[in-house]
Assembly symmetry: C3
Homo-oligomer: 343 residues x 3
């Protein structure tokens, strides 16, 4: 029996299939430290136990994007080793904070399949859950990826495309138990701008930039035990470049967005996301945001913003798509998420 795992191909999936992803992981203080070294993240709730306690939490949780990467990374050997492209995300909900000492594992269900007309690839839709040691779901999301067929002769499965809403409704968002921003310290958080200061349609240029490095994105990607060869092996692509894991771009852009959104503390919903173009070492990444929607939240002092976060590698801010309606060649990421902010 062949011992190594070359990953599943399109014809290996069927609707309703449940995959228990391997390698549970216990989070230590080190994950927080390294996350702060890899990204320019400074949200006070994730940086300071004291600040988190003043907001009603027991201590500073693991950054919610770090939790996402941790859960996502485990799915890679089962879902996307043979992916040509990661096409999108939807319906992501952070349901419970992750704390030092928690042990996470991941599980995915196949909820959609559609063979492409070329007959060489197909789209696989998975609903992934991350769970802690108490079997509590800490986050779940849907993603879909284009996956190669191993055997081009394999019959196409019946097409099933899941119904996915454009965005989560505010009532679908989970607010961490006890979260209370009524004594929120704006000075320590870094900016005075509160929920009421943001207007729908407002756009923010985050002005800071960062040039990408192979050593950094590889360490980030390994940290989440994501094993996709193309991120680590300079011989995997004809151009000799190592493709940067899309989640690295997400976290970098989110870090850059602190400048202008310092109080947008907790991501609680992922409405949609697209990796518009590949990113490589040497690219200089910057970010801008657009306020898409606002919502009131039941927790004291807490409101929600629906934001578009765009990462680019050179184009002017606020240029997302060209006149042809396609993403600008310098657009890297188009992410649509809900975040909790002090009112």
């Amino acid at each position: 029996m062949l011992k190594t795992n070359c990953g599943r191909f399109f014809e290996d999936y069927c609707i309703g299939q449940v995959l228990d992803h391997a390698v549970p992981r216990t989070v230590s203080g080190g994950e927080r430290t390294l996350y702060h070294a890899l990204y320019p993240v400074r949200h006070a709730l994730y940086s300071s136990d004291e600040f988190a306690r003043a907001c009603g939490l027991p201590s500073a949780p693991l950054d919610n994007l770090a939790a996402f990467h941790l859960v996502f990374g485990k799915t890679v050997p089962d879902v996307s080793l043979n992916a040509v492209a990661n096409l999108g995300y939807a319906a992501g909900r952070w349901q419970a904070p992750v704390y030092v000492g928690d042990t996470l594992r991941s599980q995915s269900e196949i909820i959609g399949l559609k063979q492409n007309s070329s007959g060489k690839t197909g789209v696989v839709y998975v609903h992934t859950k991350g769970m802690n040691q108490h079997n509590q779901t800490v986050l779940d999301y849907v993603r879909w990826a284009m996956v190669r067929k191993r055997n081009l002769e394999a019959a196409a499965p019946q097409t099933v495309i899941p119904t996915l809403d454009t965005a989560l409704l505010p009532k679908q968002l989970s607010v961490p138990q006890g979260l209370d921003f009524s004594r929120y310290d704006f000075a320590q958080a870094g900016e005075p701008h509160r929920w009421g200061d943001y207007q729908i349609g407002e756009r923010i240029d985050h002005i800071d930039d960062v040039t990408m490095e192979d050593a950094e994105h590889m360490m980030a990607t390994r940290l989440w035990q994501n094993t996709a060869k193309v991120h680590f092996d300079a011989t995997a692509r004809p151009d000799g470049k190592r493709l940067i894991y899309g989640g690295h771009v997400i976290s970098m852009a989110r870090g850059l967005s602190f400048n202008g959104l310092a109080n947008a503390q907790m991501i609680v919903g992922l409405n949609a996301g697209a990796h518009a173009n590949p990113c490589f070492s040497g690219d200089t990444v910057r970010a801008w945001s657009e306020v898409l929607d606002k919502a009131e939240i039941a927790a004291p002092g807490v409101g929600a913003l629906r934001l578009r976060l765009v990462a680019t590698k050179g184009c002017a801010p606020f240029e997302l798509r060209g006149q042809d309606g396609k993403y600008h060649a310098d657009t890297l990421l188009d992410l649509d998420y809900w975040v909790l902010i002090s009112t």
Copy 2:
């Protein structure tokens, strides 16, 4: 209202102004680990809980330069985003060790202002304090930087230049409560040289070298949430280089100085410091030290050395300045500090 912070300019400061810097930070074991991965530091007191306990401390503290960077980093968005140069340090005192679980924040007071004759820039002097969750000052220092004016027409402030002593007096140094080197283990510390073995005027070539890397200095700088663009953005300078944060050079040189000063455990005073020339990825850094002074300390088995620590990128050891009295073009750092050592 513009949401992003472009930093303060020279005309935004006034004498007596107090800035509460944002983003408190809780220290975990991860900070120590990453500090050991980034720098060749091996001082036993910071590496081993057992060694620290044998010296009267509850556990190994965070390296005192890491504590300095952590406090310093928070000041950058308020003090030096628009700095042309970081000109100097003085009167730095480490007043209490920082332990895992401590949460630090920073505060600065503007204590000096002097517009330059060009009218385009001015020098800002700040007195910065780092405080823990008990509101205890863990360290304080003075630094001054040359900061751009936004509006060249803005009136020059009245010139105030603080009186700064050349060096701290031994009696101004804080010794951590309980510190006791009377049962100090020289074998485990790594060298036999004790306080009495060092002579004023003695110079030590630390012989080891390290070649700098962009990924390393960016991770180090982000770890302390220092956001100055020039360290991260290869498009910020005409030469396409990312300027290495001066504190990275300080920690690298201090790490190299272990070889010859292994028992110089705790930095307790920063008398002066100058970043003589910029440092970039690819530079190979080495270090030498000079014993400037010695002092007796009340704690058992503890003495103090006043040291000059010089980092260079190529020149022969012990060449600090050229015949013109200016720093040699290869001199990177000239640091003057007090350190506690076993007698």
Copy 3:
């Protein structure tokens, strides 16, 4: 008295000499995090406290190769600063797991000396032990290195070559107290292959590759406080390259070997090891394994495999040596070890 340590030379060693290596080190959760960021390691026993507890251990230990590097690193200033080559390892036994909070130190005894016929170098054999704060040996091993003479006129010592067995016998392996694989979760561990599925002589191509980076190997090497100049200083070699610490290649290859050997959880014996060729930044490393032997182990559900782990930088898998019997020029590592696996 010269303060800096240039390292010992061949003539500085004598049989029976015991070296207490400096700088004890306390392990935190950060070491585990950083190890996971530097290497593609995913063995569940080292990743998850819950998985480790289900296997009878109190929590996830520090990866046993990380423990090895930590103990090894301390020996470098005393043993191999002036080494021309690290020639081999033998008789390595992991005797107790290392947990967060443990403080390790190292001690070596000189057990063999042989001057080379050139008269310029000699081979030094050391038996090194790593001990925790309870004075318990956590691992020990023999290694030998070729070390330069400082004074070519120094008399050659009497030749003593220790008797070293080709491999440890299964009965010589230490099994951690309480280890119990009888309720082992193969799904969470990542692969279904158990002890009985591996055949002596079977070879496994681990298929994944990773391209090496200077920033990564320097951080890894510093983390273990290994100070050998050649790893950090681009001016140390005529070709301007920084030699990658052999242990970095070992850990990278072990990480890659997860794919095909996910259940080979705990390394307990190091029979032999050779760094066949140097490795540098830019090299793309891959790995293959061969099952050399199998043994039954007294602990419930636990078996042992003796494996050869080979790292290469380009040659086809399973090509270890050329027709001349010498290692292929692309072979980097040939490691022979015993590992515990679920039956």
